[in-house]
Every structure is written in C-alpha cells, then in structure tokens.
C-alpha cells in the first residue's frame, strides 16, 4: 500500500501503468455507478492551502470508487505552522482515515504527513516542490492527443523556479521520452539545472520547434510580478497571443494547469482556440486521481 509523494525516481513503466489505469477510468467512470469496492474506506482531503479544483476532483474520484470522503480545510493560516500541521495530521489519522490527500505550503509536507500518520499519502501540491497528479493529468492529456509521448518537444513557459507543476514535469516527462525546454526570463528560471534540460529566455525563438507549449500560471499581485517589471511586460515577452499562436507548428497544442490568467500568460483567442487542451486537462482530473487513489487504497473489498 503506497501513496504518491513524488514522481522523482519513478521508472517509465510505473508511470505508464498509472496512465493506463487512468485511461480505463476516463473511458468508463461517468457511465458506471459508484462501485462498492472501496466502501467503508475513508479518504481524507487535508488542504492547508486554498484549492477548489484539485480538492473537488480528488473528492469526486473518491466517491466514484465508493469511498467515504472527509474534508479538512483550515479556518485560519495559523494551521500552516509546522506544529499544528502535525497535530492536524495526527487528529485526522485518529479519526479513522485510510488515506490522506495533502496540500500544504511546505516542500516536504506530504512526506512528513506520511511519516507522522503511517498512512498512504497522496501529494496534492507541496510547496514549490511537486504536484504529481497534475503532471500525470498532463501526460495523459498529451498521450490521448498525440497517441504517444516519445519525442514530443515540450516548452514549459513562465515562473519555472517557483512552480511545483514544473518540478513534477521535470521529474517525469523526460523519463517518458519527452524533450523539455524551460522558457522564461532569467529571473524565473531555476538558478541551478540538476535536470540538465534546455533553457531559453526568448519564447519567440522556441515556438517553431515545439509540439507542446505548457504555460504556467503567473502569480501576481495587482500589477506586479516577481521576476518581471510588470504584468504587461511579462505579457509582451511571454504571453501566448494570436501572433505567437500562428508561429506554432500546425500540430502543436497549448496546455495550462489552470486557473488561467486571461490576458497575462494566455489570451482569450488562444485559451478558446482548438489548439488549447485546457478543458481536456480538466476532464482528466477525476480519472487520473481515481487511478492514483485505487493504487494507494490497495486491495479492494
């Protein structure tokens, strides 16, 4: 019985097995009644950071497997402190959870939750370190669209240094045979490159070579963005607009983990174009999480 803390160190066949299971759920879950295979099991979602989409899709996936869902969201930011984080994990464990789905602001939060609880833990976003189910969703979406992942050229665009989504992709995409290029201003690229992937600071120079443009969400407060002079200047250099869309190969697609900032990293015309796989990504959220939950819950009843 094992959860999913990180994709680092996973082999291609392990990841592919999850994608295969997710594909089976994708084909069937909406037309099949909730099974009773995991009836009586309790999946607890413990989200110490705000998230609606990820939490809802984990909860929907749990219900689809027949499990009971318990949902914890802190009332104040005081629970973000390490000590009460531990107390909360111990409390949720004592309340009869069989599995924890954890999102927290610290990089090692999921690993600590596993150590403290002794339960399988699924990492639903840990600090800036990783968001493995998002990575699996994106891999599945690309496999559905292209048929195979081997040889795809993927550009990850934006604040890579601060992105947990990008770190999951960096761990898994090369293992699946994809070629990654990190694109952004130098201020947004990681200051070391242990993955030994390509980096580029001009999006326009890369567009013609890419099969996949993966746009990261820009974290902004009003008009300011860390690592860029302004929102508009980020948009000018890296925003995916109509002109840049026309520079892509005819077969290339655009992905985004959501929620999107229209007019910042992506323009309406791109988000709503047929080249955008954003809604397909969202649709894959439940089946991928069903596959991960199924494997973590272990033997069915």
């Amino acid at each position: 019985m094992s959860g999913l803390l990180t994709l680092r160190g996973m082999e291609a066949d392990q990841i592919t097995a999850i994608l295969d299971a997710a594909q089976r759920f994708a084909d069937s879950w909406r037309i099949t009644a909730p099974g009773s295979r995991f009836a009586g099991r309790t999946v607890t979602t413990a989200f110490f950071e705000p998230s609606t989409r990820t939490r809802l899709s984990f909860e929907r996936a749990s219900q689809a497997l027949g499990a009971t869902v318990m949902s914890f969201t802190p009332e104040s930011s005081s629970t973000a402190k390490g000590e009460s984080f531990k107390d909360t994990i111990l409390t949720l464990t004592a309340m009869g959870s069989d599995l924890l789905v954890v999102r927290h602001m610290w990089a090692d939060s999921a690993a600590l939750a596993e150590r403290w609880s002794g339960l399988p833990v699924i990492n639903a976003g840990a600090g800036k370190s990783e968001h493995p189910t998002q990575t699996l969703i994106d891999a599945l979406t690309l496999r559905q669209h292209f048929g195979a992942l081997e040889g795809l050229r993927v550009g990850i665009v934006g604040d890579v240094a601060n992105s947990r989504v990008a770190r999951g992709h960096l761990a898994a995409f090369p293992v699946l045979g994809m070629e990654l290029t990190l694109v952004g201003p130098g201020t947004m690229l990681p200051s070391a490159n242990p993955w030994q992937v390509r980096t580029a600071t001009s999006l326009d120079d890369e567009l013609g070579d890419l099969d996949v443009v993966y746009l990261l969400r820009i974290q902004r407060e009003r008009e300011s963005v860390d690592g860029s002079p302004s929102v508009s200047s980020y948009h000018r250099r890296f925003g995916m607009n109509a002109e840049r869309l026309s520079m892509l190969k005819p077969t290339a697609v655009v992905l985004h983990p959501g929620p999107i900032n229209r007019g910042v990293e992506i323009d309406d015309v791109v988000a709503d174009s047929e080249r955008s796989l954003i809604l397909a990504q969202v649709a894959n959220g439940v089946p991928v999480r069903m596959a991960v939950l199924e494997s973590a819950l272990g033997r069915p009843n």
Binding site: R8, G82, F85, W106, A126, G127, K128, S129, N162, S191
Partner: protein, 421 residues
C-alpha cells in the same frame, strides 16, 4: 600529578614522542618515561598531545533557551570535543548588549570549571541593528569580541561608526555573520541543485560575498580588527586573501560542517542539514578547505547551535537553522586537513586563541605551560550517537568519523576521558 606516556607532543620545535608530566595547572616536564610515584598514568598509545582546542563560535542558549543547552551541558559538550576554551555568542535572551548583561553572563560562565568561557557582546542594542550597544560598559566588564551573530549590521553607516569606535579600544574584534538579508531572503538551502530539485528557496553565495566585501572595505577604512565568521564561499575566500595581502586586519573562521559536507551531501530535506550559511557547492567546499590549509582562513569554529528534536521535527522550511558541532569538530577537521598534527593544532587552538586573546590557551607544550591540553587519536574510528550536549541535531549522527578525542584537561584537571582503554 598526571603522566601521559607515549604521546606525540606538539612542541615549539616540532613533534616529539615523549611522556608529559602535569602538576597542578601546568606542565611540569616533557621527556622519557620517568619516576611516577602516585601519579595517574595515561597511555596515549601514540596519540597526539597538544593545546586544548579553542572555539570562537558557540551558542550555549543560556539564559533564555536552556531546553536546548545551558552553561553546564555546553561546557561538558566542549570538554568532550577536546575544547578548553569557547566564545559564546551574545544572542541569548536577553542578549548581551550592556554592562550588566555582560557581567551577569561572565559570572554564569565562571560558575563551572570544565572549560574557559569567553563571552562575546553585541554590536547593537538588542542585536537590533539600529543603535550602537553600550560598547564601553561591556569593554570595561572585559568583553573583547563584539558581534551581532545571526545577523549582520545591515546599516553600513552604523557599522562604520561602531568599527571606528572599537578601533580605539585595544584588543577588540568585530566578528561578523556575513549575510545580506535582502539577498538571502527566504533561502533555506544553498541556491544550487538541491534547492532547485526540491523546490525550496535558496540563498545564493553572493549574500555572503557582498557583506564580506563591505566589511573588508570598512575594516580598511576604520582600522578595526575584523573577524569573518563561518566563511562558506570561494569568492569570500578570494576577497579575504586579497585583503590580507594588502594589510587589512582581518581573520576568518570556517565550520567543520562546511569542510566535510556540501550541497551534494543531502539526499533529502533533513532539518539536521539546515544551517546558515547553508552547505555550499562542492567547489566552495574545496575552496574553504584549501583556504584553511593555507591559512587564508585562520581558524576552525563550530557555530555549535543546539536545537531540540521537537524543534527540528517540523517541515524543513520551518525548522530553525543550526547544527551542533563541538563533539565532532576535531575528527572532521583532522580529516579535512589530511592528518597534519601541526596544522591541526594551529587552526583549532593556536590561531583561535590568538584571535580571542586567550593567553592560557593555544600554546605549545613546554615545561611551565598551562595544562590546557587535549589528547587526540587521529586514527580511531567512531560513530557519534550520544552527545554530552542537551541536543543531538547533528548531520553526523551514525556516520563513521576518523579521529577521536581521548582526554581533555582544563587547568590541570581531567574534564573528559572517553577514549582511553
């Protein structure tokens, strides 16, 4: 009377195999084994005998955080590590920043006999970096080393006034924790591969370099004696080397963990590997080790920073900075220096004693010299598991180390005896 037979003794003239007789608080004689009626005899088995180790940088957390360490446990930890003198940092609660707090701290320091404790005072009131501390009153009380350790004085104008002021007070040293907070902000690890891989904010080496450069310029300008604490980067080493060559009055220290470990030593986010400055790149580690061998970095200092297990058993980014170091320092330094006895005792005893102005420490073993001594077996292997310190936040727990302190003598009294069979 104590007789230590069969030791490799550090003399002014070189290393000598001899027996050393200790009477009272001094060395009585050095020579072939002789009369020993009633003496306690220790067979050194060829181990090194030299001056007791001196640590320019420890945190004993007393007063204020005595669940981590106190004067008694800190002193026992020092003795177990072969130290006969340590300098305690002023970031206690309350901090040592005035005459009365200095006098109280020195009285507490003298309440034990395991090790000589020299108390350092703060540069600014409350270590707040805003207002000059009461330097005169602390100087009169006997404080000679001044530092806001844990923070630098970020206001360069204030630091310049402090350095200019202390330049007039003989024997004083300004010791600086070189970290520009605007550059290190939020960094939990070195800004290198490990930080990138794990998605943890990194603190770049330039956070140190910028402050070292500023401090060297101010030391040249004011004439103050500067001591750069826990140097961790290759660039800081270059800056210090260059400044020394042009006559700036500067000394520097490096920690044993920066000699032994680097960013590649971490395979997961373990809070017992979290400290400031962080473990740097392998190139930085090589540079500081080489600088220590060549004397560009003068001394080893542990930055012994105890934290309880509960305090460290939290997410990495929330864990307090610092690791303990007193009990593993000798082994790690000996290994980093390639087992050179003369260089080992210079960097761990003679040089730090000179920097601190400790006359009874750091001397070669001669008739009449103070019996502040350590017997160190450079070949013995061991694994640290149990510590005399109240805390055990060490990255070296369970690791095999080479080199073990066997006996420590402070003012002629055995304060540690752990390796003699």
């Amino acid at each position: 009377m104590i007789v230590i037979d069969n030791a490799r003794v550090l003399r002014a003239t070189g290393i000598e195999s001899a027996s050393v007789v200790i009477e009272g608080d001094s060395v009585l004689s050095i020579g072939p084994p002789g009369d020993r009626n009633g003496a306690q005899v220790i067979d050194a088995g060829g181990a090194w005998l030299g001056p007791g180790l001196v640590d320019l940088h420890v945190h004993f957390r007393d007063p204020g955080q005595t669940w981590k360490e106190d004067i008694g446990s800190g002193a026992r930890s020092a003795a177990a590590g072969g130290f006969t003198a340590v300098v305690t940092m002023p970031n206690t609660i309350p901090p040592i920043d005035s005459g009365p707090t200095a006098i109280a701290a020195m009285e507490r320091a003298d309440s034990q006999k395991e090790v000589h404790i020299m108390v350092a005072g703060a540069l600014t009131m409350g270590r707040g970096g805003m207002v000059m501390a009461d330097l005169d009153a602390m100087y009169e009380a006997g404080i000679r080393i001044f530092t806001d350790d844990g923070d630098t004085v970020s206001d360069a104008g204030l630091l310049r006034r402090i350095m200019r002021y202390l330049a007039d007070l003989p024997g004083t040293v300004v010791a600086d924790h070189a970290e520009d907070a605007s550059l290190s902000s939020g960094g939990h690890l070195h800004d290198g591969s490990m930080a990138a891989l794990h998605g943890v904010s990194g603190s770049p080496g330039v956070a140190e370099d910028v402050i070292v450069a500023r401090d060297l310029v101010l030391a040249r300008d004011t004439g103050a004696r500067l001591h750069v604490q826990h140097v961790s980067t290759a660039s800081a080493v270059d800056l210090i080397r260059e400044a020394k060559a042009t006559g700036v009055r500067v000394t520097a220290e490096v920690t044993p963990h920066h000699l032994a470990l680097d960013d590649d030593s971490l395979d997961r986010l373990d809070p017992n590997f979290k400290m400031y400055p962080p473990l740097r790149s392998p190139l930085d580690r090589k540079a500081v080790a080489e600088a220590l061998r060549h004397g560009v970095i003068d001394a080893v200092a542990t930055d012994h920073a105890p934290h309880s297990e509960a305090e460290k058993a939290v997410p990495f980014e929330e864990a307090p900075r610092g690791v303990i170091g007193l009990e593993t320092a000798a082994a790690l330094t000996c290994t980093a220096l390639g087992g050179d006895q003369a260089v080992f005792f210079d960097r761990m005893s003679t040089a730090p004693a000179r920097i601190a102005g400790l006359a009874r420490h750091g001397q070669s073993i001669e008739p009449g010299s103070p019996a502040n001594l350590v017997l160190f077996d450079p070949l013995r292997t061991w694994s640290p598991e149990v510590f005399a310190s109240k805390s055990r936040n060490s990255p070296f727990v369970g690791r095999e180390l080479v080199g073990k302190v066997m006996v420590t003598l402070h003012e002629g009294r055995i304060t540690y005896e752990g390796g003699v069979t």
